[in-house]
Every structure is written in structure tokens, then in C-alpha cells.
């Protein structure tokens, strides 16, 4: 069972889609990084927190039938790599959607949802999921 500290430590990324932008080369990373793998020491102290654009499109996807215990009640469910409008690829679930109608290029946006829970009395994890952007 995960600690409560782990849950709140992840809030900036999981709730707010906060990543980091390298001020040297302009590349945006998600999740956050302490330095830019391209610019290395030049980027230290120049990494700025940025919120990713919450809108984007499906880059690729899968429909999961064989789910881990925590997500067993949801199956089948869709997961996707989404390319945000600021050109960052992120991974998450795709919900409130007809599974048959998902396609690459489909416009989506990120919303805050319950991800899963550590048992009935455990910590509830929240984070972003994608929904069709109509």
C-alpha cells in the first residue's frame, strides 16, 4: 500500500500536468526533470515549471482486456499516448468514449479523475485521464 506522501508528491504532475521547460533549448519535458538531457549542465538552474496544454490528439492507443487488480472493475478500458498541442507525448487512460470509435488523430483533452484506490479504506489516487474533445 502506498503512503499518503507518495500521493501528494505526485500532485503537480498528475493533477496539473506540470512538466519542465529547458530555457536553453526550449524543449518541454513531462514528467518534470532536473536538467535537460540535451543541454546538460548548461540547463541547471534554467529548468522552468510549465503546465502542459490539456488539449491534444490520440497518437496511438490500446484497449486493455487483461487488467491489473487495481483496474479490474474497469475492463475493458482504453489507454492512449496523446500528443498535446505543445507537442509533448503523454500516456493515460481514455474514458467517456465509445471504445469502437477511438481512432488515431482523435481530439482529446485531459480531465482530473480517480485513477485507482489502495483497497476499500486505502489512499485514493487521482490524476489526469483523457476524454473526447468535442
Amino acid at each position: 500500500m502506498a503512503s499518503v506522501a507518495k500521493e501528494w508528491r505526485e500532485i503537480p504532475g498528475r493533477y496539473n500536468l506540470e512538466g519542465t521547460k529547458c530555457d536553453c533549448c526550449g524543449k518541454v519535458y513531462f514528467p518534470e526533470r532536473n536538467f535537460c538531457p540535451k543541454c546538460r549542465r548548461d540547463s541547471i538552474g534554467k529548468m522552468k515549471t510549465v503546465k502542459l496544454c490539456r488539449e491534444g490528439e490520440v497518437f496511438s492507443y490500446s484497449i486493455i482486456h487483461d487488467a491489473p487488480a487495481a483496474n479490474n472493475s474497469q475492463k475493458p478500458y482504453a489507454v492512449a499516448f496523446v500528443k498535446t498541442k505543445d507537442d509533448v507525448l503523454i500516456a493515460g487512460q481514455l474514458v467517456d468514449v465509445d471504445l469502437e470509435k477511438i481512432e488515431i488523430g482523435m481530439p482529446v483533452r485531459a480531465v482530473l479523475r480517480k485513477l485507482d484506490a489502495d483497497g476499500a479504506a486505502g489512499v485514493i489516487h487521482y490524476g489526469f485521464k483523457f476524454v473526447p474533445n468535442v
Partner: protein, 389 residues
């Protein structure tokens, strides 16, 4: 650096081995390798073990000490080291052992790989595999390892570099060879329809696109090339071993339809061996998923992007097709996938092929063989090249 030889090999049966414990499997493979190399066991001065997750599969940490003890080597107090790199655990353990002999620090080294998976329930096993991806930003967001490979497969099909049939034929090839390997978990050839109609796991991938849950172990004995003749006349040379890394999360890569770590490791390995992909006669590739096999053939330089699917479909990958023979052991899909053992079991198969002892699946006049082992979604890759003497 010294040249290194493989002087002994051993492997257990692969399968759901309810009667065997982790330690009994490890010891069986090790004993066979020692016997094969005509050693007493006292000559061995270091031990490396590839193991992914005994801690979660059998609740046993400290596998290095366990194996050293039950192989009777703890009383000689030799160093024992357990290596973990997800699915590449066995490949990395092999490479570390080669480095130890090449450097001159050790002379006669055993490298083993072992995994006992079936003591745990299937859902828990899958969660352990999912943890070889990014546990926080992939698995923690609801993605499974299978779904990540499914996302790769879907994107490749969308970009038009492979068809669903091309992907499925990777499993057909592995089962074709598994039928010829008495040590394989699945020893039955299958038609492509079996793969295409298998129940969905993570669409578009089905049950037959995924390597099975397997118990098993494998071991090889290394020594300096110049000493190999002292033990045996059926040794092979380790011409190259290389390793490369990439981001832990697949979504952080500029291109998800290729494993850059495979390309980098392969390039270094070919340079080290002084050969090109055209010189390879037989290869064991990491087909934990069918789509991984498509990527492997392209990233290792055997086929251009867009051509690997047809190579599998046309049977060019068969042991007797005269091209580079792929997964003559049955691969991870049909031989079985005891995770930490696989990278070492690949070396065992390539050694059999180069010695000419692969029986019904023997590739004619095999001179060079290659083994590729992959962790997660290509976050760690080893490529090793062996050469017949």
C-alpha cells in the same frame, strides 16, 4: 582485454514446472553446464545470476547468496552477483561475466539465469512485468506492459510499416521452431489464424501475441579463449557483447516504432566483431511480444523498415530458409519466457547452433550467431555475437 570462450552450456526444461523450486531449477542448469564443460566446479572463480524478480515471484531476495550456497560454491567463498535489468536481466548478467573474464579479473566464470514465476497468480505476475515500464507514469496511469507494445503495434500499422498478419507471423515462426525443440514449453506449430483469433489482452494484441508465463533456468561457463582447449574441443568464441539504454518510459522517445537501444547496441556489437548484419546466420531475438520481433529484425539491421513482417510471413526466418534463422529455440513465445533466464538461454541456443548440436532445428554451416535481450520497452538492450571456431 582477453578473448573469451563459452566452454559449457546447460538449461532446464522450460514450462509450468509445478514440481520444481527456484533453487532446484538454478542448480539443475548450473550442474549441466559444469558437466558439459568437463569441470569439477572448483575451477569456477565467480558467479553471475540474471534474475528479474525473485523478490516478488517467490518472496526471496538475495538470490546471489542462495545460488552460490546451493550450487556448493559458497564454501569456496567465490563472489556471486545477481543482476536485474527487467527482461534483459540474463543478457546483462552474461555481458558482466564476459567483462569479468575479458578484464583478467576472473578466469572461469559461471553465468546463470533463473526465474520461478508460477508460484504467483497470473494477475500478480502481470503487475510485476508492468513494473519494468515506468511504474509511476505508465503502470501508475493504468497502462500495462502489453498495452505499451500494443500502442507500438497500432502505431506501426497506422504508419503502414507492418500489417496485423505480419505481426502475428512472429508467433507462427516461434511455434514452428518450438515444435523442433524438446526443451520448449510449447512444442506445437500453429497457423496464423490461431494468433489472429486469440482472445484480446491489449488490442490489437491477443494471447498468442504474448510470451507465456514460464519457470526455467539456463547457465553457461566462460573462460579465456586461449584456455578453452584445456576443457573441451566444442567451445565457441564470444566475438562481441554490447549494451545500451534508453528512457524508462516509452512515451518520452521521439519515435516509438524503433528501439534506439537495439540499434546502438547492435552497431557496437557488429563493430566489435568486425562483421555486418549480413554475416549473421542465426539469431535469438527478444519476442516477448510479436511486435517486438518485427522491431528486432529491423533494428538489428537484418531487414529494412517495413520489410520484417513479410520476412516472417514468407518463412524466410525458418532454420532451413538459408537467410538469417530467427528464434530456432522457439524464442520467448514458444520456448517460454522465464524472464531472468531468457538472455542466458539465448546464449545456450546460439552455442548449440554454432557447435552443430541443434539437431532437428540445426542451421547449416552456422558461423556467426547473435542474441538480443530487451528490458521493459527497450530501456535496456544487450546484443551479443558468438562465433564458431
Amino acid at each position: 582485454m582477453r578473448d573469451v570462450a563459452i566452454v559449457g552450456i546447460g538449461a532446464t526444461q522450460f514450462g509450468e514446472l509445478w514440481n520444481n523450486s527456484f533453487r532446484s531449477l538454478g542448480i539443475e542448469a548450473g550442474s549441466r553446464a559444469i558437466e558439459d564443460a568437463n569441470l569439477s566446479g572448483d575451477e569456477i572463480d565467480a558467479l553471475y545470476i540474471g534474475n528479474m524478480s525473485a523478490g516478488r515471484f517467490i518472496s526471496q531476495q538475495h538470490i546471489d547468496a542462495l545460488i552460490a550456497d546451493y550450487s556448493g560454491m559458497a564454501t569456496n567463498h567465490i563472489p556471486a552477483t545477481r543482476v536485474e535489468a527487467g527482461g534483459a536481466s540474463g543478457g546483462v548478467a552474461f555481458r558482466e561475466a564476459v567483462i569479468a573474464v575479458a578484464s583478467g579479473l576472473h578466469d572461469t566464470v559461471m553465468v546463470g539465469g533463473a526465474e520461478k514465476m508460477t508460484d504467483l497468480d497470473d494477475a500478480s505476475i502481470n503487475s510485476v512485468m508492468d513494473a519494468t515500464a515506468d511504474a509511476e507514469w505508465e503502470a501508475g496511469m493504468g497502462l500495462t506492459l502489453t498495452s505499451l507494445y500494443a500502442i507500438i503495434a497500432r502505431r506501426m500499422m497506422f504508419e503502414g510499416t507492418v500489417t496485423r498478419e505480419g505481426i502475428a507471423s512472429v508467433a507462427v515462426n516461434s511455434h514452428f521452431h518450438g515444435a523442433l525443440n524438446p526443451g520448449a514449453q510449447f512444442r506445437k506449430a500453429i497457423p496464423i489464424e490461431t494468433v489472429l483469433k486469440s482472445g484480446p489482452v491489449a488490442e490489437p494484441l491477443g494471447v498468442f501475441d504474448c510470451a507465456p508465463i514460464t519457470d526455467g533456468a539456463a547457465a553457461v561457463i566462460l573462460c579465456p579463449l586461449e584456455d578453452a582447449k584445456k576443457y573441451t574441443d566444442k567451445y565457441v568464441k564470444v566475438s562481441a557483447t554490447s549494451q545500451a539504454s534508453d528512457t524508462l518510459a516509452l512515451f518520452q522517445r521521439p519515435d516509438i516504432t524503433t528501439f534506439e537501444a537495439t540499434r546502438v547496441a547492435a552497431k557496437k556489437a557488429y563493430e566489435m566483431a568486425g562483421i555486418t548484419p549480413k554475416d549473421i546466420n542465426v539469431a535469438e531475438i527478444h519476442d516477448d511480444y510479436t511486435v517486438s520481433g518485427i522491431m528486432a529484425l529491423q533494428d538489428l539491421g537484418f531487414y529494412k523498415k517495413g520489410e520484417a513482417g513479410n520476412a516472417f510471413l514468407n518463412g524466410e526466418t525458418h532454420f532451413d530458409a538459408g537467410k538469417v534463422a530467427i528464434n530456432t529455440s522457439g524464442g520467448l513465445k514458444a520456448r517460454g519466457y522465464p524472464v531472468g533466464a531468457s538472455g542466458v538461454a539465448q546464449i545456450v541456443e546460439i552455442t548449440e547452433q554454432l557447435r552443430g548440436t541443434a539437431e532437428k532445428r540445426q542451421v547449416k554451416n552456422a558461423k556467426y550467431g547473435l542474441a538480443q535481450s530487451v528490458g521493459g520497452t527497450g530501456s535496456a538492450v544487450t546484443v551479443s555475437i558468438l562465433e564458431a571456431i
